[in-house]
């Protein structure tokens, strides 16, 4: 289960121990920030195609494990209404050494942003709203 409607507890996420042969674990924590492209953001709404989002994240996790040789990757992405400062997504990657853990963690979050059917609507200070349209340079994560 990679998608949750519940608040993400960072302490619980970090506390889970990786396999004992892993010497390095990296974490990424994505939070709701209060601005975007010069506008003040009040809150966000994340929507997903749930069944497909779960499958796509699983594929990303499996692919990155096989490409980077990390031993374990965990992902939790929250959906629904989030306030400024709330945690939207957490990723952890654990490997024997730190190099593969850093690489895997970066790969996972970039691929989530590219390929997982999750959408984000921003609500601004004046209560206007806009769906965020992201563009990515695929070469940036190669």
């Amino acid at each position: 289960m990679f998608i949750t409607k519940e608040p993400i507890c960072l302490e619980e996420f970090i506390a889970l121990a990786p396999p004992e042969h892993c010497g390095g674990t990296t974490f990424f924590v994505g939070r709701v920030r209060n601005h975007h492209e010069g506008k003040k953001v009040k809150r966000l709404f994340y929507e997903c195609y749930h069944s497909m989002a779960e499958k796509e994240i699983e594929k990303i996790v499996n692919n990155v494990i096989s490409e980077t040789a990390v031993s374990e990757i965990r992902v939790l992405h929250r959906v629904g209404w989030l306030e400024i400062g709330d945690i939207a997504v957490t990723v952890s990657a654990s490997g024997v050494h730190r190099d593969e853990a850093f690489t895997a963690c970066r790969q996972v979050i970039e691929r989530i942003k590219q390929d997982v059917p999750i959408w984000k609507k921003e609500v601004y200070e004046d209560e206007s709203q806009s769906w965020v349209v992201c563009t990515y340079d695929h070469h940036a994560i190669a």
Binding site: V116, W119, C134
Partner: protein, 81 residues
């Protein structure tokens, strides 16, 4: 043939619904079905969005043929993370 269409995000709001069953002729492709659905919005600028398509929860290309009972989602640009 009937297929099930799912709408998300901008499209869900513009359509005013999460999903619907629609009739399409046999040997219709994903791209043809999506074009017909998007044209109903009468917002030509919507075609500037780089839509992707999912059939039965898997990414597919626009030339993929649809079968009766398939579930089609027209995916506007994603923005997770």
């Amino acid at each position: 043939m009937k297929i099930r269409i799912y709408y998300f995000a901008q499209l869900r709001e513009k359509k005013g619904k999460n999903e619907e069953w629609r009739d399409f002729p046999k040997s219709c492709t994903v791209g043809e079905a999506a074009k017909a659905i998007l044209e109903e919005l009468k917002e030509p600028q919507i075609f500037s969005l780089p839509f992707r398509y999912a059939l039965n929860s898997e990414f597919v290309l626009p030339d993929q043929e649809i079968r009766a009972g398939d579930e089609l989602a027209i995916l506007s640009p994603v923005a997770g993370g």
